[in-house]
């Protein structure tokens, strides 16, 4: 069979711009090159500004991870200011971040990932009619039910953060909005309504049952316990089994997490062994990026093929995201699903399981708020200092590294989740996680737009606007 090269783009439903170059031979992808084609220069823009301005500028890196960017910026400033939010401030900030992560998990499943199964490629599969009815882009029943549920869930953002995206509510010393007793009840109402929507449409089961899934056998038993279209999660599991999605999109067996909400600890897992994370081992390789220096673009650099830099942990490629978060935390289901590295199935399952766990946790945090106690402490900044803000966005590990000198930002570095996952080759020629995951993906002869490639790419829940900021 002849070898050919296929350039796939524009890639939609990936939050931003993406182009993928595939070298195909013998019916499968041999090599992939992932290109992030947009550069905006946020690290350059942040330099030279007053430090607190990062609370305005950084969230605007990304409209879907806006709160995560705010959180990272506020945490970096808090380190420099020596600020520690009071308990209410921590609870409110966690609620705001969890709301973004939960909404993003849902958005990804409903709007970005599942519509590909309504593609005509699958017209002969037994589940196709159900997939079209539930997941067709624009008018599928799933989106018609859950996009409004998501919008009403985001009322929590309206109440706690003023709006979403691009809020200034998250400050180094806590949050700008106190919650009174009536608002606390309204937050519980918002969560109750969201829970009902998820339990009716997405899971067709209690959130606690999904949150407690603990093994591959447990997952299979749950999937088989009812008709395949009882809940969109179950329908996905049915489709995944038919298409073998557990064997598609194999990533590197190295997972990285900064830890989140005190629920899931930070760490790094390599081939099933978890160790503490030393952020000092994180570096960025510029070999394949159109970058002359860490913050100096060079659009015509030889040998480069992406605006994305290549983050590496002690020189190694790592995958980040909900799956990584749960693997590093030692979750038994995640560990079982990712025993040989991530897959399309593992990434999607752990995103939805995490969604269920987040909503349950949020209900507890709202109850723990104590109205009339402080939500924010003052946090004046010194004229110089260094700090980092590490946070788990929906899509994985996000870090900000900030240096202040003479009262202005001297240096601002950002490494976003998809920068890890969609990184290009490094100086050693080692491909990034998606580039590795695409190798081996089957492609039919003459197919200009292979749908399996779409599944692999979107399984990472990419956010390209964060990737290159």
């Amino acid at each position: 069979m002849t070898a050919r090269r296929l350039i796939v783009g524009p890639f939609n439903r990936v939050e931003g711009d993406l182009e993928v170059t595939l070298d195909i031979a013998d019916g499968m992808v041999r090599e992939a090159r992932v290109t992030a084609p947009l550069y905006r220069g946020f690290e350059q823009i942040l330099g030279g500004r007053p430090p607190e301005d990062c609370l305005v500028i950084a969230p605007r890196i990304c409209g879907i991870c806006s709160v995560s960017q705010s959180t990272a910026a506020a945490r970096a400033l808090a380190v420099i200011a020596g600020a520690a939010p009071p308990p209410n401030g921590r609870l409110a900030a966690d609620l705001i971040l969890a709301a973004e992560n939960a909404a993003d998990h849902l958005t990804h499943f409903v709007l970005f990932f599942m519509p590909d199964f309504a593609h005509q490629t699958y017209a002969r599969r037994p589940w196709f009619a159900a997939a079209q009815r539930r997941f067709a882009a624009g008018h599928g029943e799933c989106a018609r039910a859950l996009v409004p549920a998501r919008a009403r869930f985001l009322h929590l953002m309206g109440l706690l953060a003023g709006k979403w995206p691009h809020s200034l509510a998250l400050q180094p010393g806590g949050v700008t909005k106190g919650v009174d007793s009536g608002e606390r009840i309204r937050l519980l109402s918002i969560l109750a309504e969201f829970r009902e929507a998820l339990e009716t449409h997405l899971f067709a089961d209690r959130l606690e049952r999904i949150a407690a899934l603990a093994s591959r056998a447990d997952l299979d038993a749950w999937a088989g316990a009812e008709a395949p279209d009882r809940g969109d999660f179950r329908l996905f599991l049915h489709i995944a089994r038919d298409l073998g999605l557990s064997g598609l999109g194999r990533g590197p067996a190295t997972f990285l997490s900064y830890g989140s909400f005190g629920l899931w600890p930070a760490g790094v897992t390599v081939d099933g062994r978890t160790a503490a994370l030393d952020p000092a081992g994180i570096g960025e390789d510029l070999t394949s990026a159109w970058m002359a220096g860490p913050t100096q673009p060079d659009a015509f650099k030889d040998g480069a093929y992406s605006w994305c830099k290549a983050p590496r942990l002690n020189g190694a490629v790592a995958e980040v995201g909900a799956l990584a978060r749960q693997v590093v935390a030692g979750d038994p289901l995640a560990t079982a699903l990712a025993a040989n590295g991530g897959s399309v199935l593992a990434r999607v399952v752990m995103r939805l399981v995490e969604l269920a766990r987040l909503v349950v946790a949020m209900e507890g945090w709202v109850r723990a708020i104590r109205p009339a106690e402080p939500f924010c402490e003052e946090s004046p900044l010194p004229l110089r200092g260094q700090g980092s803000g590490l946070v788990e966005a929906a899509r994985g590990a996000l870090g900000h590294w900030l240096t202040i000198e003479a009262g202005i930002i001297r240096d601002y570095r950002i490494i976003a989740p998809t920068t890890w996952n969609f990184s290009p080759r490094d100086a050693g020629g080692c491909p990034g996680p998606l580039e590795q995951a695409l190798a081996g993906t089957p492609v039919d002869p003459g197919d200009r737009n292979p749908v399996a490639v779409q599944h692999v790419v979107r399984s990472f829940d990419p956010c390209m606007v964060c990737t290159v900021h």
Binding site: F11, N12, V56, V465
Partner: protein, 333 residues
């Protein structure tokens, strides 16, 4: 409605936040909210099924005028650098800059809508030294020309319609597109913003109004007082009906305790001072309420400060109500 009003959506140098905001439109989402007015998305980068070559077919047809585009919506600033090449944003799969695609389709579209302040005026990407030569569609900041000349008029007779804001309220977008679908036109102010929202100020309806009236000012984040004197709030200068409607069901910037940063105005990204501090000269804020003579503002502020009730003064410096309003029986005249 007989024929659908078609919208083609492109993302230039954007964060995607305008789409994310719109996704919560009217609590039903962008697609359903537009559908009520017979408005259909020809293609949207975050919401449509078509990817790769299927999407390119739609864009190529639109650029060649083979399919009707009633409104081209562009989200994000146009990256024209480096050196005018547009290589800071190449449209994937085409080898051409996104700037070139926008210009080609804008020439065919009945209306051109800039969604958000980046597409309208350049916005955040053109902050500071503007490293990517980012620009708005028809404006570069307040005065300059964008990707399209200041004389640009789309086929439907209107200049670029600037649904400004970072991100704009989803209602501003839905109502603008619905107005275009219903009446074929839309009243704009001198900066291309729909007057439906831009004739108001963000200050109108602010829930901190009593604190504003008495100049009972917040001193630190989470205080309930007015944010104008110390914490950088520009709501008295910022076009938008932000506090006459709710954001995400409940909120607004000022409701949530942080400053309005005047995000509907060109150049808001470089306001010359820290965003969250009020720039002052001799103790008087540099940015006074629009249309208000400075001498009167100073005189009224001094007077109202001296008349501030203890309740208002106390609550201005707390994150919850310390002193409730006094109880009095209703009086007859």
């Amino acid at each position: 409605m007989s024929e659908a009003f078609s919208v083609l959506w492109l993302q230039a140098g954007s964060c995607g936040g305008c789409t994310m905001s719109a996704l919560a439109a009217d609590d039903v989402g962008l697609v359903a909210a537009l559908d009520r007015f017979g408005i259909r998305l020809l293609w949207h980068p975050a919401l449509s099924a078509q990817s790769g070559p299927d999407a390119l077919d739609i864009l190529a047809d639109a650029a060649a005028g083979r399919i009707a585009v009633d409104a081209l919506c562009v989200e994000g600033a146009v990256m024209t650098g480096p050196n005018g090449t547009g290589r800071f944003q190449m449209m994937a799969g085409t080898g051409q800059s996104t700037a070139a695609w926008i210009a080609a389709i804008a020439a065919q579209a009945r209306h051109v809508v800039a969604v958000g302040s980046c597409a309208a005026y350049g916005g955040i990407p053109m902050a500071g030294a503007n490293p990517t030569d980012a620009t708005g569609l028809q404006f570069l900041g307040f005065d300059g020309a964008g990707l399209l000349p200041r004389s640009f008029v789309a086929r439907g007779g209107l200049p670029v319609i600037n649904v400004a804001g970072c991100a704009p309220h989803p209602g501003w977008l839905v109502e603008t597109l619905a107005e275009l679908a219903l009446s074929g036109t839309c009243a704009l102010d001198g900066l291309g913003r729909p007057r439906a929202f831009a004739d108001h100020l963000a200050h109108h309806g602010c829930s901190r109004n009593e604190f504003y009236e008495f100049k009972a000012s917040a001193a630190r984040a989470s205080d309930r007082g007015c944010l104008m004197e110390n914490l950088g709030c520009k709501a008295t200068q910022a076009p938008g009906d932000c506090n006459l409607r709710r954001w995400n069901g409940y909120g607004s910037c000022t409701d949530a305790g942080y400053a309005c940063i005047n995000c509907t105005t060109p150049g808001f990204q470089d306001c010359g001072a820290p965003f969250l501090e009020t720039a002052k000269i001799a103790g008087i804020p540099v940015g006074l309420p629009v249309d208000m003579p400075k001498a009167w503002f100073v005189a009224l502020a001094a007077l109202s400060k001296s008349a501030t009730p203890q309740r208002v003064r106390t609550n201005a410096h707390a994150d919850h109500v310390i002193v409730p309003p006094i109880h009095r029986p209703p009086r007859s005249p």
